[in-house]
Symmetry: C2
Subunit: 149 residues, 2 copies
């Protein structure tokens, strides 16, 4: 029988300040980092914890990038930080690792955001740029990935 919900526990926290951009993994999960230094990039999954209200979780359509000129769009067709499950997914370059800390290049996350998973970035052959199609509101600001959310 499928339960009504699943529980995601914080496994770490994002430090995102003027001085550092770092994922700290909590001590009980340190063993899960073995071998991550063999990768150049990761995908950080975290929770938009400041939006965890029934109202924001029931917002199903938004103007992407909070720009009213962008067409009203379903949240499953955006990376909006309001969505039924508040999962954020951001690819990052690893700058260096130090114990339980992963220093990364950049992440569009609020300081203190709870991390729920780390996955290594593995290129997938079928995702060649030539094959990818996106709507015009995406390409209008391509390259400025910080505006994705």
């Amino acid at each position: 029988m499928i339960p009504m919900s699943y529980q995601a526990f914080p496994v770490g926290v994002i430090h995102n300040t003027e001085n550092e951009t770092r994922v700290e993994i909590y001590e009980p999960y340190e063993a899960a980092l073995l071998g991550l230094d063999g990768f150049s990039h990761i995908t950080v999954l975290y929770w938009f914890h400041q939006n965890d209200t029934p109202e924001l979780r029931s917002t199903l359509r938004v103007h992407p990038r909070k720009n009213p000129d962008n067409p009203l769009t379903g949240v499953f067709a955006t990376h909006s930080p309001v969505r039924p499950n508040l999962i954020a997914m951001t690819p990052c370059k690893i700058i260096r690792m130090d114990g339980r800390s992963i220093f990364i290049d950049d992440i569009d996350a609020r300081n203190g955001s709870p991390v729920i998973d780390i996955k290594p970035y593995i290129p997938i052959d079928k995702l060649e740029a030539a094959e990818i199609k996106t709507p015009s509101w995406v390409s209008a600001t391509r390259g400025d990935n910080r505006k994705d959310k």
Copy 2:
């Protein structure tokens, strides 16, 4: 104050049989699909619900792809289906959409897996193949993405 856990609700279900490969979004979330047909690819986030036991969630190291020849590796450095939070992340090509159904090319998910989020696939400039580094156990079977889990 940060809660001890976050709740993820199923927003749909994966149908993965001989006859169909389809993500069904549940009716209350249908409005969130508006505009998804402008994309060629999505990332499907689902839950490894059959592994949701304290024992499997506390498994922090595995031999990737269940191959004992691969080095013991932290789960955060793999896409293993056992990990602290049982989130699966798979990029898929959209074949066609029909109402609340997204027909996709292929997904390495068990039939009946609960979907927790859909995100559109947006290429990111910094993730150019030339820059990506992975350990040898990945490249030994590159191209066979089904074995990623």
